[in-house]
């Protein structure tokens, strides 16, 4: 009887481990712009990758703590979610008969944000040269997004799921509009799964003013700039297949867009701000394209009765092209290997961590100066500096923990606080990881999951 009870207790713990959040996947080595889930680690977050996953995670509420993310604009309309400056989001999934449904709020795409930020006029982005000015006047990134989910399991065991994404915001004072819509379709069987996530609409536009003298060095004075982003295609297809102890997987993401800038760049000379050069933008319409594809093999294996090991190797290629005055190009090809672990340390604590490093990493980035000031800094954080070479300093060690209080779990990332409290929070992509286990900042990127 004792053995049975012990077994039940373990199952209760291990079942709860499966329900988690962005913090868990990041601690286990996930490195995607949108943290949309994993092909080989079971996690509630996977509903954003394959909507059929909703069938595995019914009857729960998730809240991810945060604020508005990292604001990158002077007009407070553009922001991105990053580990040290998170966006608030959350939702619920509930089972009803044969169906699971749910709603999730605030899961705005970082990829979409990056593309909209890239579409901002160069002139509007450097509106902070000469004071007293108010900093970059950006295109708005997505806000107040709602994701609706519905899924079920067929009699033959096949699971299906669908998700509808929608947002629509406007601000007449700035002649600003932004809206987006997408559908996610997914199926899962015991051995394979597949998904198609399709953006059906993604638009943003506004009218901003650059202040007199702001464009010092270019010979320009105050101006009104109309800027616009319009997504023309957005597809993320992928799937995985059970092979030996793990899963082989692959995905392809492509986004194409048009952007418009009506600023007259005649007479523009390069503007240099804190070492970042911004060249003249392109008046009129420009085209952009973002392609990523990957194939990989990941293994999740149980060890020690209450732990798991994760290993993953993948080939991933990212190509971004923005045809402005000069074509901005990003080409990153990497083969990262990830080794991770997760262990139910006590009845109330689960600990996890990982190390990731590129076995191969090559970058070939060109003409960053033709992109606007803000996106230049963002893409350097994510894809490395301009020029050719290997991807430097690719090793990353992450760690995280879950505090378990019965049906309530608190997840977070651990080890991201510097040993000195004098340092202020940095806006840079990288967190401060100096090997410290801090008890005052016990966990960061915290999220809570309640199963009912």
């Amino acid at each position: 009887m004792k053995k049975i009870l012990a077994g039940i207790a373990f199952l209760a713990i291990s079942t709860q481990m499966a329900y988690a959040t962005q913090a868990r996947l990041i601690a286990l080595g996930l490195d995607e712009l949108d943290n949309e889930g994993s092909y080989y680690i079971q996690d509630q977050r996977n509903i954003f990758l394959n909507a059929a996953s909703v069938n595995s995670y019914a009857d729960l509420v998730v809240v991810e703590l945060g604020g508005n993310g990292r604001n990158v604009s002077g007009n407070s309309v553009a922001s991105v979610d990053q580990d040290n400056l998170t966006k608030a989001q959350g939702g619920f999934l509930k089972k009803s008969g044969n169906y699971v449904y749910g709603a999730y709020l605030g899961n705005e795409s970082n990829t979409s944000a990056l593309l909209r930020i890239a579409s901002t006029s160069n002139a509007a982005s450097v509106n902070l040269v000469a004071g007293p000015t108010s900093a970059p006047q950006m295109l708005p990134t997505a806000d107040k997004q709602v994701d609706l989910f519905l899924g079920s399991e067929l009699a033959n065991g096949m699971k299906w799921g669908a998700s509808l994404v929608y947002l629509d915001n406007e601000d007449e004072n700035k002649k600003q509009e932004e809206k987006a819509g997408a559908v996610r379709l997914g199926v899962m069987s015991s051995n394979w799964d597949a998904h198609a996530n399709i953006s059906i609409m993604n638009e943003a536009k506004n009218q901003v003013s650059t202040e007199a003298g702001a464009l010092a060095g270019s010979g320009n004075t105050a101006a009104t700039v109309n800027q616009e982003f319009e997504g023309s295609l957005g597809i993320h297809v992928g799937g995985s297949y059970k092979l030996a102890k793990g899963r082989i997987y692959g995905f392809y993401k492509t986004f194409q867009w048009d952007q418009k800038d009506d600023y007259n760049y005649t007479g523009w000379t390069n503007v240099t701000l804190s070492g970042t050069t911004v060249a003249a933008g392109k008046n009129g319409k420009s085209e952009g394209k973002f392609d990523t594809y990957s194939i990989g093999y990941g293994v999740s294996e149980s060890v020690n009765q209450n732990g798991s090991l994760f290993t993953n190797i993948q080939f991933k290629s990212t190509n971004i092209e923005l045809k402005v005055a000069q074509t901005v190009e990003i080409k990153n090809t990497i083969i990262p290997i990830t080794i991770g672990y997760e262990h139910v340390a006590t009845s109330w604590l689960t600990f996890r961590g990982s190390i990731t490093q590129n076995l191969y990493g090559d970058r070939d980035n060109k003409n960053f100066s033709s992109a606007n000031l803000v996106v230049q800094n963002l893409i350097k954080d994510v894809y490395g500096n301009e020029g050719k070479g290997t991807v430097q300093n690719s090793a990353r060690v992450n760690a995280g923990a879950t505090l378990t209080f019965g049906k309530l779990t608190i997840d977070g990332v651990v080890g991201t606080t510097s040993d000195s409290r004098a340092s202020t929070a940095s806006d840079s992509q990288s967190r401060t990881q100096s090997g410290v286990l801090a008890l005052d900042n016990l966990m960061t990127r915290v999220a809570a999951t309640y199963k009912f």
Binding site: T311, H343, G361, T390, S420, S430, G435, D440
Partner: protein, 359 residues
């Protein structure tokens, strides 16, 4: 019966707390780089590759940031039949990065593979490799490294050789700029007798560096001879003592001017490690030169001041252990960097943290 159970439980705790990381080695006054000459620890694989057979089936991650003072690194080790193998990522053991602080490209993304077996004679070998380039500037920069290690252990005897085959950086601001390390070697042997381990080690390396026409040649050699004693006080605690003679010579010739630096030290190290509770192991050490301790630069001698106290802890969650240093946080939280002034901080409960998970 109760005694037997208590002893068994104690052994379980002891055996698990014995496996650890860089921070454990530093807290016990040992080398965080290649491990200890006489204390069993996973880090010892970087000195003697045959140690890959002694501890296997684990994952280790050392927290930090790639190429920062606290380097992010880690790997996994596993047994497969009669063999044991492992993969370690981003090790900086014997890296010349600090030497090259002149703008040449540093070593990056090292990948190290280990393999070993136990056929009465324990043997092990490892090979590491890295290759980096940067065409971001006007001139392409490159760095390549490679090295091999072999080791054997049989009964009380053990021996090893670690050879750095290549560490080459090309181009800083001009095509002629370069750093080229000589083939470096680290060879050694040890013999165990009762609770003592006697050891000797010889190292030799050097480099040639040219930056903006200024040439710099370096040759370095060192000899270490010592003995370490491991005293098991109880099933859950032990005391370590070590005394070793170290001598090394560094000859650096910069623009035709040679500077010779010689060090002779005889440090005594006393350390302890105890399982304070089932979930907490504490350790510490003090180290100081005795009798000998001099540095001679250009023929001029001075006494080395060397007293060092270090401490650390392991949070023990069964198969998962969190190691770290303690006492490294200043009592002034506005201090920019970690410093030691006798503070037991609870906010920075541990630094130089590493986690190892055994499966």
């Amino acid at each position: 019966m109760k005694k037997h159970i208590a002893i068994a439980a104690g052994l379980a705790v002891l055996s698990t707390s014995a496996f650890a990381t860089k921070s454990r080695m530093e807290a016990l006054g040992q080398s965080s780089s290649r491990g200890s000459f006489f204390i069993e620890d996973t880090r010892n694989i970087f000195r003697n590759a045959s140690k890959v057979n002694d501890m296997t089936n684990y994952v280790v991650t050392e927290w930090g940031t790639d190429s920062a003072a606290q380097n992010a690194e880690g790997g996994f080790f596993r047994s497969a039949g009669q063999f044991n193998y492992g993969l370690y990522l981003n090790s900086d053991v014997n890296s010349n990065a600090s030497t090259q602080d002149v703008g040449l490209l540093d070593e990056d993304n090292r990948l190290q593979l280990f393999v070993g077996g136990d056929m009465g004679l324990k043997w092990g070998a490892s090979v590491y490799y890295s290759s980096s380039e940067n065409e971001q500037g006007a001139i392409k920069k490159e760095n390549d490294t490679m090295g091999v290690s072999v080791g054997v252990s049989k009964g009380a005897m053990e021996g090893y050789a670690n050879v750095a085959l290549k560490d080459e950086s090309k181009v800083y601001t001009a095509q002629a700029d370069k750093f080229d390390a000589d083939s470096g070697m680290l060879i050694g042997a040890a013999y165990s007798w009762m609770d003592y381990k006697f050891y000797a080690e010889y190292a030799k390396d050097g480099y040639e560096q040219t930056v903006a026409g200024a040439k710099k040649d370096n040759e370095f050699s060192s000899i270490v001879v010592g003995v370490g004693h491991n005293h098991e006080v109880s099933a859950t605690s032990r005391i370590f003592t070590q005394v070793q003679y170290e001598t090394n010579k560094d000859e650096t010739t910069t623009a035709g001017t040679k500077v010779e630096t010689k060090n002779s030290n005889l440090p005594l190290t006393i350390g302890f490690e105890a399982d304070a509770t089932s979930w907490l192991a504490l350790r510490g050490s003090i180290s100081q030169n005795i009798v000998l301790g001099t540095e001679k630069v250009g023929g001029k001698k001075k006494t080395n001041g060397t007293t060092d106290v270090a401490a650390g802890a392991t949070l023990n969650f069964g198969k998962l252990k969190v190691d770290g240093m303690i006492g490294t946080t200043s009592n002034d939280r506005t201090a920019a960097a970690a410093s030691e002034n006798g503070t037991l901080a609870l906010d920075n409960v541990m630094t130089k943290v590493a986690v190892h998970y055994w499966f």
